[in-house]
Amino acid sequence: MMGALLVGIYVFVLAIFVGVEIITKIPPTLHTPLMSGANAISGITLVGSIAAAKSGEVAAGSILALVAIIFATINVVGGFLVTDRMLAMFGKKKSRS
């Protein structure tokens, strides 16, 4: 059990470093799309909610998971779509010239 936890902590710390390395390179122009895109990525918790809802029972635990799926999907679908909408506007000028 401790083994999995330790590996998890390693992965967590290393991923933070990767994140910091990449995100400090993102220009201010793209900060709003970055934020809504990162936001959509935090909807990855959808994976957890799907696993939690697998029983399909009508019980408090599964109903909580159902609400979790709805919330996470709103975050994922809405987040990626709205980011795409914004980024499409940044590209507009390129296609015209």
Binding site: V11, I16, M35, A53, I69, A72, K93
Partner: protein, 479 residues
Amino acid sequence: MINLLQSTIVPVLYLLSAVLFIFGLKGLTRVRSARRGNAMAALAMLIAIVTTLLELGLVDYRWIITGLVVGGLIGGVAALKVEMTGMPEMVALFNGFGGGASALVALSILWTNLIEKGETGTAATIIGADASIGAVLTILIGSVTITGSLIAFLKLSGRIGGQPTLIPARHVINVALILSCLVLGVYLTFLAAAPDTVALPVLVLTTISLALGVLLVIPIGGADMPVIISFLNSLSGLAAAMTGFVLSNNVLIISGALVGASGLILTQIMCVAMNRTLGNVLFSGFGQEGGTAGSDEYGPVKSYSPEEAAMVLESAESVVIVPGYGLAVAQAQHTVKEVADLLEKKGAKVSYAIHPVAGRMPGHMNVLLAEADVPYEQLIEMDTINPEFKITDAVLVVGANDVVNPAAERDPTSPIAGMPVLEVWDAQSVMVIKRSLSPGFAGIKNELFEYQNNMMVFGDAKKVLQEIVGELKDLLKAA
């Protein structure tokens, strides 16, 4: 076959998903590759979901499909309908849903395993101490994210006032609440006996965490919202990472950590741009200390009509436009672009000076101007444009105030002393389009308005700009 799937294919697919998330973010480092990067992150998400379904094997799909369809429809419609000016509140709201989802997953896991299964023992013996502590932290962080984001959403969309609401002794209350959450977490994990005595600590923990989110964001004023939504963004990532610890799922840990890092960096950038520390933003309502220094009365201020402003612009060879929050409120970005187009047509050099906190979230002004077809090459960051003001003929400030306040550099007693600002006063002439002399978010007087080379053009930003467009057209025709 099933063994190979579980032992090899599923982990490899999860790894692929994590790698694609990282490449997706990397795509966002350049405007050219940004859209592809976003698509790549979306693909990573799809792979992660499909992999989870593979991993689960054959299960009851009723809740899963219902949830995906309902959530997908709501999210899709919201994303397609939102105006670009409404982006900050939309991001705050989505963010809340993400954090809330993490908290709900943790709640669901605790509830199913500790109460509904009917096993006896403590959480530490049934699901393991690390999973239980992870779930407690997820509930804490996720619940703070959802209520905090909801308050931010209400403030940003103007449904409740942007003024900080200061509760007496709130620091003591907040610290006490966080500590009681931790104590409850330890009690829940090691002492409470499932299935009978765990429900109460779980519910109390959730309630306290939800209240904490409200208490943390309520005292924060409208001007500090860019900081707080960046911070909440980071929390929603951390909540997802914590869920990963509960489920021992590395994709969750990796992507959660990426979002956590991203939010923290944006928070840091916003704090620097406003010359504050995160602690200062979180723990003091703005302008609480010494906000009344100096007089708020204005001496003589020069004012121009739109016609006069148009004449100044017409004779300028280099023009810098400083767009601020007021431009977004007046929806005047398209009219600004018209002014810029006319000036460029007669040969002037036009650029836009973007303060890091222009608009209402990091980079918001860039999105608004991109929507109005302003090429992003014309958007110049503060540090690059500041030395250029000395050789600029005319500056047009539209709906900005605090970010062009010389007091930040010249008056060490000012509440905004040390905040980086756009040094527009170095230009030959400055024109400020503004409704009145009323103060900005910082609530202080702006001496720029009294300067010799500054002219006020009073009125609604959009109306004034439209009049300037009309005048410029006439002037150009006559020339």
